[in-house]
């Protein structure tokens, strides 16, 4: 099934700098299959209306489609009946929503928040706002030299001041998959809610929210072969009830008078203003796309490519892979001796190879690993072994150019 999958993605018909596109940046954003692109176009051409407001046929149908994506997403992540899904702008907004709403109600001065050294800035900066605004304390669960989280140290970090733990599902730099089961078990034993940054997990790892038993799971549509502009937040209903609205505006109210305003209940409380309607509707097609291939096949495919790539890169003495996690998804980062990651990405770009150079919004992790930056490779369903060969040739070209 995965063999001819590239054909479903029209972007691969184009040449980049005269070369076939080798896209190795799916951790940043994934490319879109034709079915998703068509769904956006079809909705605007035939079915568009704003949702949740009008009572005319178009509006009712649009609302139905919008809600259909929500219910399919619940199935996709294995949400139980006590869990809802809120649409946001992106996973960053989802994490900001949690930090802001949770912090407003439940964080006081000197309360503690536990993050990890591997977090993306999107799961650090929103908590830093609470450090500045409320005097909260942020603690970081450390990693070992291979990039694995030192889960055994979690209990030591927990105190009676710990109010929430917010952790990534998978590092967007090293590809290390977080042992969530163990972490959430410890958290629950101590009655601490857990927020998971699932940005890298949604399209690439097995998700069963019910089994996972986290309180929040933030992810985004654009990293799961869907449109940009849609973020998702799976949230336990008790928190949705407890939180005040994140933003105010149309659609999120029950009634409004000069004296008082009452908010809508449930997910509507958190969806103020016109939402990315066509994008949410088209996201349903990306769920269908992933389901059609099968998560199990995707995980196997990407893990296999990672192992092949790592083996090939390790045979080059000038290449240093920056971590060696025990359980790794379809992401890894490396450096070539004496060549900066940005020079590498510019040279690879001339070969049609798209990789990311820099700190990948993880400056803390880079500091811990004592490196300034790295080149990141991340796989999607459309990648194959020839992409890895192109990468290896590209790396040789970098070395040739920099050879004095």
């Amino acid at each position: 099934m995965i063999k001819n999958i590239k054909e479903e993605f029209p972007i691969f018909k184009n040449k980049i700098n005269g070369k076939d596109l080798v896209y190795l940046d799916s951790a940043n954003s994934s490319q879109k299959p034709q079915s998703v692109i068509d769904a956006v176009s079809f909705f605007y051409s035939n079915e568009f209306a704003n949702v949740g407001r009008g009572i005319y046929t178009l509006a009712v149908n649009a609302s139905d489609k919008y809600e259909k994506t929500r219910s399919n997403l619940k199935k996709f992540i294995g949400a139980s009946s006590d869990c809802e899904i809120i649409f946001t702008k992106n996973a960053t907004e989802s994490l900001n929503l949690v930090a802001s709403c949770f912090g407003e109600k439940f964080i006081e001065k000197n309360d503690e928040i536990i993050l990890t050294e591997t977090e993306h800035h999107a799961n650090y900066v929103p908590w830093d706002f609470l450090r500045k605004r409320k005097g909260a304390i942020i603690k970081f669960l450390p990693i070992d030299e291979d990039g694995n989280l030192k889960v055994d140290e979690l209990e030591k970090l927990i105190s009676n001041k710990t109010k929430i733990i917010s952790i990534t599902h998978m590092s967007n730099v090293t590809g290390a998959i977080t042992p969530l089961e163990k972490i959430i078990e410890i958290a629950k034993k101590n009655n601490i809610p857990v927020c998971v940054d699932g940005t890298q997990g949604a399209a690439h790892l097995d998700i069963d929210i019910k089994k996972m038993n986290c309180d929040f799971y933030a992810f985004s549509g654009h990293k799961m072969y869907g449109p940009t502009g849609v973020g998702l937040l799976a949230i336990k209903y008790k928190w949705l009830e407890a939180f005040d609205p994140f933003m105010g505006g149309g659609g999120m109210i029950d009634y409004v008078t000069k004296k008082n305003i009452a908010y809508a209940r449930g997910v509507w409380k958190m969806e103020a203003g016109t939402m990315p309607t066509a994008e949410v509707v088209a996201l349903n097609e990306s769920i269908n796309f992933i389901n059609k291939i099968g998560k199990k096949n995707i995980i196997e495919h990407e893990k296999k490519l990672t192992q092949i790539a790592l083996e090939k890169l390790r045979s080059n003495n000038s290449v240093r892979i920056i971590a060696k996690p025990k359980n790794q998804g379809g992401v890894f980062s490396f450096n070539i001796n004496n060549i900066h990651s940005h020079d590498v990405s510019t040279i690879l770009d001339q070969e049609g190879i798209a990789v990311r150079g820099g700190h990948h919004c993880c400056q803390v992790l880079h500091e811990v690993l004592k490196i300034n930056s790295s080149v990141r490779v991340s796989f999607g369903v459309y990648n194959n072994e020839s992409d890895i060969d192109a990468l290896c040739d590209g790396i040789k070209k970098c070395q040739k150019i920099f050879k004095k």
């Binding site: 940005h342 020079d343 880079h366 930056s373 004095k404």
Partner: protein, 147 residues
């Protein structure tokens, strides 16, 4: 454009074996240029005596283009007045961005050649900031001090 146009010998030479990459013992000016997007950071030190740059050096981390630009800058700005520094900086940025520039007549030919070797960076818009980073930093330091 061929990638070798970007990584010309002079840029590779200065980028991999930068000159004046140390912290000056005595300096009366220092400035930091950083690019939060990529983490490139250069710290420039210089000592001005009687309006002339007596000594100039830098330390920092960055790509070959950023390091080469900083290295070349420390060579070119030696013994230049503050006014000349600003003029050379403007010339360098113009060389890259506009390709349409007036050659400051006080600039020596060998220094001009060094600066002109960065011209092709204009063809790689994502890398322009790498080259201009140290120059913008020194310009803003001088503007700040002259106010």
């Amino acid at each position: 454009m061929n990638i070798k146009e970007l990584y010309k010998n002079i840029i590779l030479d200065h980028g991999t074996s930068p000159r004046n990459r140390f912290r000056l013992q005595n300096f009366n000016h220092e400035t930091i240029g950083s690019n939060p997007l990529c983490g490139d950071k250069v710290h420039i030190f210089f000592n001005v005596i009687d309006d002339l740059i007596d000594q100039i050096s830098f330390v920092g981390e960055g790509c070959a283009i950023c390091i080469a630009s900083s290295s070349v800058m420390t060579e070119v700005l030696q013994n230049k007045s503050k006014k000349e520094v600003v003029a050379i900086s403007k010339y360098f940025i113009n060389v890259i961005i506009n390709k349409n520039h007036t050659f400051p007549n006080f600039l020596e030919q060998d220094n001009k050649t060094k600066l002109d070797s960065f011209m092709s960076i204009g063809e790689f818009p994502t890398r322009i900031k790498c080259a201009t980073l140290p120059w913008i930093a020194i310009e803003s330091e001088l503007e700040k001090k002259s106010k």
